[in-house]
Symmetry: C2
Subunit: 356 residues, 2 copies
């Protein structure tokens, strides 16, 4: 069966400021040493499984050019532009109806554009298994990440350890980001996996489920589909999208539908949620520093320093993040990465949009 | 009696890197909010006591232009250029013989170009008293700073508390930078003052003492004096200076001579020895931060942040110094300012002279 992929690339990625900006969010940046951007890596990663002409990117209108530039071999008609961000359900719905015009039947992978995966062969074999599970009946399959520690920044998925089809387990429920205490309980229970935001299903399965659980949105999506390649395409897309409520696919479908399966994945996954991810992705030196650019460190350890051509000299620093760009420099305690958004709030209030 | 001043402005000021560079050391920088440079403030401070045409600047050849630019009302012939740095004794000797061509008798103030003084009227009245003491007989007078705390970065001067002429005490001895333990003893003893490096004496007194305690240097200085305004002036200066041993006036004269007096000064003195001085000179805000430039701070306290036009965002920082310039940024723990010189060593080893 044909396998297609929908890569979700509409995020703003404020947590990677000042390198990520509204005009160039995380998925279009390179955080690895090979210089490839996250969306390029995401596409490259699945090419053994999905032909480039079967890969679709959903993004915002303002990022269309970035996608074209960074993925020159992708057919331009495979770039789907949301007029507004409306969370993952409308985004995936738009992808599904667009694909349904071209493919009578296909398995659809839904993947975020801004995650890192270390062991690609394991990732691909997990995806292959997920495709097999998705093809059997009307299954909705997700990938769950085997947790290493009680992370409070991720959602969790509880599965029935006794109810498996091949390697896929039946999902009991989706749970929101927990408290540390709860996260520890989840880890100890051995029945929870991290919610990776990756989904695998047949096009028909997801459309049937949208029709059943999100009938209003389904109606709008059908109108959008019918307008594609007509002069009204943009008007209909904008009008219908405006009506969609912002909703996640987890809440809109996965928590309500039947036949939800989860495949445990152990392929070195990272959602690259903050600058701290850089030290998981890149090698640190013997002092625990991850540095790039024109850097001198004296008595400095466990720091992340991202420079450009400008000289950065760090003296007596510990546990800090420094990110230098042409017009802004961030210096942030590793324990304070959650506060980076406050800088952006401050800049917005002061109308200093050139930095956002 | 005529009062002249010799302002010593030859220092390299490595401790204010990256704002201070070999091409523009500390004395030519502004660290205050009024935008005036340290040498400008030093000259301005003594104008009620010394006419501009009686002020001499000793500096390196490469700083002549900076002195001219920053002190446009100073007669250019009052800028004396050492061909090499040889510590304070040859520097002061050069000043004294140069002045002795113009003044038959005068009291000479010797002042560093890169100190800050908060209470100028108290400073001037201390200098006036020092001039009076210098005029009586053949006295060598220095200003001692009443210590606030056991600083280990300064030299100390022990005086005889019982032996005073007016407010000037007889000096017992000069002591080098002490250990913390020793510094605490000095403070407790109430018989030690900080060595400020400021001296007051008659021209004839210092020349007589140089002749007596540094006869070789004296001979060279006389040759230099005799060559001034002749075609050989530069050659003689270079040849004789090359022969001078690098020696401080403290070691060469003050520790050996008779009639050494010290006047205690309490005029808010600061030798501006490191970036830490900035928070003593400038006002900090309610969180203890001293910031200038285009700065956003979030949950940041007790930091010194010196920027330019570039945005610097500090998040969760404490007790740090950030200094941004066009081509280099320093980020330094306040407890590590002594290690800034290691950056310069590193740059020298790597031959990256553009940053030095």
């Amino acid at each position: 069966m044909k396998i297609t992929a929908l890569i979700m690339a509409g995020g703003r990625g404020e947590r990677f400021w000042p390198r990520s900006r509204k005009s160039q969010p995380k998925q279009f940046l390179s955080l690895t040493e090979d210089g490839k951007t996250m969306i390029q890596l995401t596409v490259e990663r699945i090419l053994p499984l999905v032909a480039i002409e079967d890969i679709y990117i959903v993004t915002n209108r303002e990022y269309r050019l970035l996608v074209c530039e960074q993925l020159p071999t992708l057919p331009p008609e495979n770039i789907l532009c949301e007029p507004f961000g409306r969370n993952t359900a409308p985004c995936i719905g738009l992808g599904a109806v667009s694909m349904s015009l071209k493919y009578e039947e296909a398995v659809m992978l839904v993947l975020p554009a801004d995650h890192m995966i270390r062991y690609n062969s394991i990732f691909l074999s997990t995806l292959r298994e997920a495709c097999e599970t998705a093809q059997m009946g009307e299954n909705l399959v997700t990938i769950g990440i085997t947790p290493d520690y009680p992370e409070v920044g991720y959602g969790y998925i509880k599965f029935h350890p006794e109810q498996a089809v091949n390697h896929a387990y039946i999902v009991e429920r989706f749970v929101e980001k927990p408290s540390l205490e709860l996260a520890k309980e989840y880890i100890a229970a051995n029945e929870y996996l991290w919610n990776s935001g990756m989904f695998i299903w047949k096009l028909t399965t997801i459309l049937n489920n949208i029709q059943k659980y999100m009938p209003d949105m389904y109606e709008g999506l059908i109108k959008i589909r019918d307008s594609i390649h007509t002069p009204e395409e943009n008007d209909v897309l904008e009008r219908e999208f405006k009506k969609f409520l912002p909703e996640s696919i987890d809440y809109g479908i996965m928590e309500k539908a039947q036949n939800i399966y989860i495949l445990p994945g152990s392929f070195g996954w990272d959602d690259v949620g903050s600058w701290l991810a850089v030290e998981r992705i890149r090698k640190s030196n013997e002092l625990g520093n991850v540095v790039s650019g024109n850097i001198i460190t004296i008595d400095t350890k466990n720091c992340i320093i991202e420079g450009t051509r400008k000289l950065i000299a760090a003296v007596g620093m510990e546990n800090m993040i420094v990110v230098d760009t042409d017009d802004a420099t961030l210096i942030c305690n590793k324990n304070s990465t959650g506060d980076i958004k406050k800088i952006l709030e401050n800049l917005k209030i002061c109308n200093r949009n050139e930095y956002i």
